[in-house]
Amino acid sequence: MVEEENGGVDPRLQAIKAAIRVVPHFPKPGIMFNDITTLLLRPKVFKDAVEIFVDRYRDMNISAVAGVEARGFIFGTPLALALGAKFVPLRKPKKLPGEVISESYVLEYGTDSLEMHLGSVNRGERVIVIDDLVATGGTLCAAIKLLERVGADVIECACLIGLPKFKGGCWLHGKPVYVVVDCRQ
């Protein structure tokens, strides 16, 4: 987690945290939804958030950024462009038009799946997976599995926001998870 790594407080972090809006009881009672759309209304804060990711990954030889639909697209595409990397969208079923591979994951009730275009990532490519928030990690695990199935090297999962259990660094399916700020409760 960025806060702990830096020891002191990165001045950008306070603004990032403050720009995230908590919407109670969305999508259902008891969930305190961390809404990043308010951060996107603050150009300097949005820019800083992207820069934190860019600074971390610029020297790691990343060749692809895989963004989880749909909020992962928002942070993932600027990151990919800054790193000179490909952007690979990981999507809900039936959205990608070409030949895909699919990975299911468990929801609280039922299952969902994530798809990736065949041929978008090659064996041995170094990849970052990105999403706005990590909660259970189910979606990120599915993403990691998709990439590993094509022989990619998932270097890290990057999320702007993480639930408390991800504080101080955590691992999902053997891969490190990097979180910029804690979930706001």
Binding site: T37, L41, F46, E69, I74, L81, K86, F87, S120
Partner: protein, 182 residues
């Protein structure tokens, strides 16, 4: 009529990276797939640059990107210009208070939503999506933005399907595209 990028030397590269998938999502549709453009860093870079160059001096204060492929092109443009990014979403995705606009599909209707308070009266808006077909989605976005008092400066898409004449559904708002699909 839509204006194009013209003879810009970056266009052939951009156009060449777009993949056509026949019969998706249903028979008879030639789907214009931009995911292959995103795999070519230079082509993706050129695409964003061409939009940024066009809009950086137009005093745009908000880029409205239409879910989900508008979320791919919109944020980099907003960041480069230094303005807000506002996601225009399918129903029930945005967590806060929203305003909604219904629009026609080939069969039936759908709804587009925008957060209340994201866009202010007097905001100068750019609407972005990967492609314009019938123009129905863009028209819904324009209506939402105008309902809160914003001025829609232009709609921008990577690709246009000219035979569908979507530009006619934009309420007189100009359209800018990079590539016209044959």
């Amino acid at each position: 009529m839509a204006s194009e990028g013209g003879e810009d030397p970056r266009l052939p590269r951009i156009a060449s990276t777009i993949r056509v998938i026949p019969d998706f999502p249903k028979p008879g549709i030639m789907f214009q797939d931009i995911t292959t453009l995103l795999l070519d860093h230079e082509a993706f870079r050129h695409t964003i640059d061409m939009f940024v160059e066009r809009y950086r001096d137009k005093r745009i204060t908000v880029v409205a990107g239409i879910e989900a492929r508008g979320f791919i092109f919109g944020p980099p443009i907003a960041l480069a210009i230094g303005c807000k990014f506002v996601p225009m979403r399918k129903p029930k995705k945005l967590p806060g208070e929203v305003i909604s606009e219904e629009y026609s599909l080939e069969y039936g209707t759908d709804i587009m939503e925008m957060h209340v308070g994201a866009v202010q009266p007097g905001d100068r808006a750019l609407v972005i999506d990967d492609l314009i077909a019938t123009g129905g989605t863009l028209a819904a976005a324009i209506r939402l933005l105008e309902r809160v008092g914003a001025e829609v400066v232009e709609c921008a898409c990577v690709i246009e399907l000219p035979e569908l004449q979507g530009y006619q559904r934009l309420g007189g708002k100009p359209l800018f595209v990079l590539v016209k699909a044959a």
